[in-house]
């Protein structure tokens, strides 16, 4: 768990970035006819028949900070926990949970809500509640012990 640091409220940047993410999902729908679930694209990159565009999509995700570096002269600001066992468990749970629940923040969150899927809405509420509950326990009950 990261030490608690205040972050600035950035409604305009977040809204603008959100619109870009939305545009990307619309591109994928208009061009490939698929929802943009990152976990589905990742799994499909390993074994789908038309894996090429999925691998390219992930390459685009990975390349984004480099474009940012070229445009702004600095890498994006980021703070990642260096508790490696904690991050290993987190990664395993994120992969396992999204594969079992057939979707992540993008697949259920953005694309599912845009399709007005009740199933996705239930998934979003569930993972939001569990994520907020986890942060509450780690920060305010255990208090930085992890």
């Amino acid at each position: 768990m990261l030490p608690i640091t205040q972050t600035d409220f950035t409604p305009w940047a977040s809204l603008g970035g959100g619109i870009l993410i939305g545009l990307s999902t619309v591109m994928v729908m208009a061009l490939f006819g698929r929802v943009t679930g990152i976990i589905g694209i990742t799994a499909g990159a390993a074994n789908a028949d038309d894996r090429g565009w999925r691998i390219a999509f992930i390459a685009g995700l990975i390349a984004a900070p480099l474009l940012w570096l070229v445009a702004t002269g600095a890498m994006p600001q980021q703070a990642v926990s260096d508790n490696l066992p904690g991050m290993a468990i987190a990664g395993l749970m994120v992969g396992l949970g999204t594969a079992l629940g057939s979707g992540c923040t993008s697949g259920h969150g953005i694309c599912g809500l845009a399709r007005l899927s009740a199933r996705s809405l239930v998934a979003v509420i569930t993972f939001m509640v569990f994520a907020a509950g986890t942060v509450f326990v780690l920060r305010h009950v255990i208090g930085g012990a992890v």
Partner: protein, 143 residues
Amino acid sequence: MRIFFGFLSGLVFGIGLVISGMANPAKVLNFLDVFGAWDPSLAFVMGGASLTAFVGYRLAWRQERPALLPTFDIPTASDIDGKLLTGAAVFGIGWGIGGFCPGPAWTALTIAAPGTLIFVPMMLIGIFIGRRLRSSPFATRSA
């Protein structure tokens, strides 16, 4: 063409993650910390992205078929079952520990923080296990 536009779509998504703050676990964890250092910014990411997708999807669906593939392939499942709820809960806990969901984790790979370099391979192992579990008789029965 598919490769080029696949890459471009991923790049736009990734830049969106960076600009919005979603690619920074510190910001994600503060968004989730409703009773502490709450930073509501990421609600604007979800709002902006899903509203854009809501409108854009309806425009895209006016085409007979997508531009680069023969058919639309849109999820049809509507069942709210044990696998969905368990999966979402497990994902939520992992998201709350690390502050990464799958998209930002890929994007963060380039910055190569040690936490990211362990998170991404473990996420891939998790996907592999999760997909096997999803199709196993046990998961089907308990659902």
